[in-house]
């Protein structure tokens, strides 16, 4: 009897260990900031904010590079979900709000030095407000 219980327990543990990853509990946070192209911003290969970089941010989002929110706290939050849309590669809705200043609520996870955000609600979208092209031109290429 004990053997069969232990056997069943072992089977359950094996099944659980081979199933989907066990999710850690997220932290619900609110973030205000600019939607950015993550690659150009974090690697600093060019100036990568505002109107100056908008076109390139669209290119990169369409190319499947992760999109983030640069929070007012200076943190970069990689966006993996936008409300009901849980695709995050060249997501058409995200492409349309590149460079926008937004305030969102979301579930926050941090893993191995990367901050990830699953946006549950876009509370405010002010559109593109970081008008810096007169200072920085069009990044890159100037056109």
């Amino acid at each position: 009897m004990i053997k069969s219980i232990l056997g069943a327990f072992a089977a359950v543990m094996i099944a659980l260990s081979s199933a989907s990853p066990v999710a850690a509990a997220p932290q619900r946070i609110s973030v205000t900031g600019e939607i950015i192209d993550t690659w150009c911003y974090v690697t600093e290969i060019m100036y990568a904010l505002g109107t100056a970089h908008h076109q390139c941010a669209v290119w990169c989002a369409v190319g499947g590079i992760p999109v983030s929110i640069l929070g007012e706290d200076g943190n970069v939050y990689v966006v993996l979900r936008l409300e009901e849309e849980d695709t995050n590669v060249a997501n058409p809705t995200v492409i349309q709000i590149q460079t926008h200043q937004v305030t969102v609520d979301g579930d926050f996870y941090e893993r191995d030095g990367v901050k990830y955000l699953f946006v549950t609600q876009v509370k405010d979208d002010q559109g593109v407000v970081n008008l810096n092209h007169e200072d920085y031109g069009i990044q890159p290429f100037g056109e």
């Binding site: 499947g64 590079i65 992760p66 590669v89 996870y109």
Partner: protein, 175 residues
């Protein structure tokens, strides 16, 4: 701050060297601060699945960002491939849930560590350049992908609607 032009030149130079040497499995330096050449084996995972347990089939069929789960449990976000302005999902989706060997740049930035995949292969398999995005784009659009970002229908439509600055009606000054 490195310019895109210098990175592009470095890429072109390295590619030429690769063609000459035939050693298509050595990462190229891109001149980015914090970059380090890295070759390792890891499991390809859907990052959203890894974090939340919400796991569609086949890592989301190319619609979800992918990561490399290393043997020590470290999850690495793949942000870039070998193509201009493109990510690495197209290169790695075929390895969803499997081991892959990658060669590229591990870049430690002020904000996060990221990985740029330049070459990939199944363990002990044949190396191939991580430029699947441009191949797929070319096949889908019937044209060469060298300037894909200027010729992509979604890009053209988006820029036409909102302009290069993202603000309708705001245009560059004519020279």
């Amino acid at each position: 701050m490195k310019t895109l032009q210098s990175v592009t030149l470095s890429l072109a130079f390295s590619s030429a060297l690769l063609l000459i040497s035939g050693a298509a499995n050595a990462a190229n330096e891109w001149g980015i601060e914090g970059e380090e050449k890295a070759r390792f084996q890891a499991k390809v995972v859907d990052i959203a699945c890894e974090l939340t347990g919400n796991c569609p089939d086949n890592c989301g069929d190319g619609k979800r960002q992918l990561g490399l789960l290393r043997d020590d449990g470290t999850l690495l976000l793949v942000m870039k491939n070998f193509d201009t302005f493109a990510g690495g999902v197209n290169d790695l989706i075929g390895f969803c849930g499997k081991q892959v060997e990658v060669d590229g740049l591990l870049i430690t930035t002020l904000h996060m560590p990221v990985f740029a995949v330049q070459f990939k292969r199944a363990p002990e398999g044949k190396w191939s350049r991580a430029n699947q995005f441009s191949k797929d784009w070319s096949a889908a659009n019937g044209q060469k992908a060298a300037q894909w970002f200027r010729n992509d229908p979604t890009v053209i439509e988006t820029i036409k609607a909102k302009g290069v600055f993202g603000v309708p009606g705001l245009e560059p000054e004519a020279e």
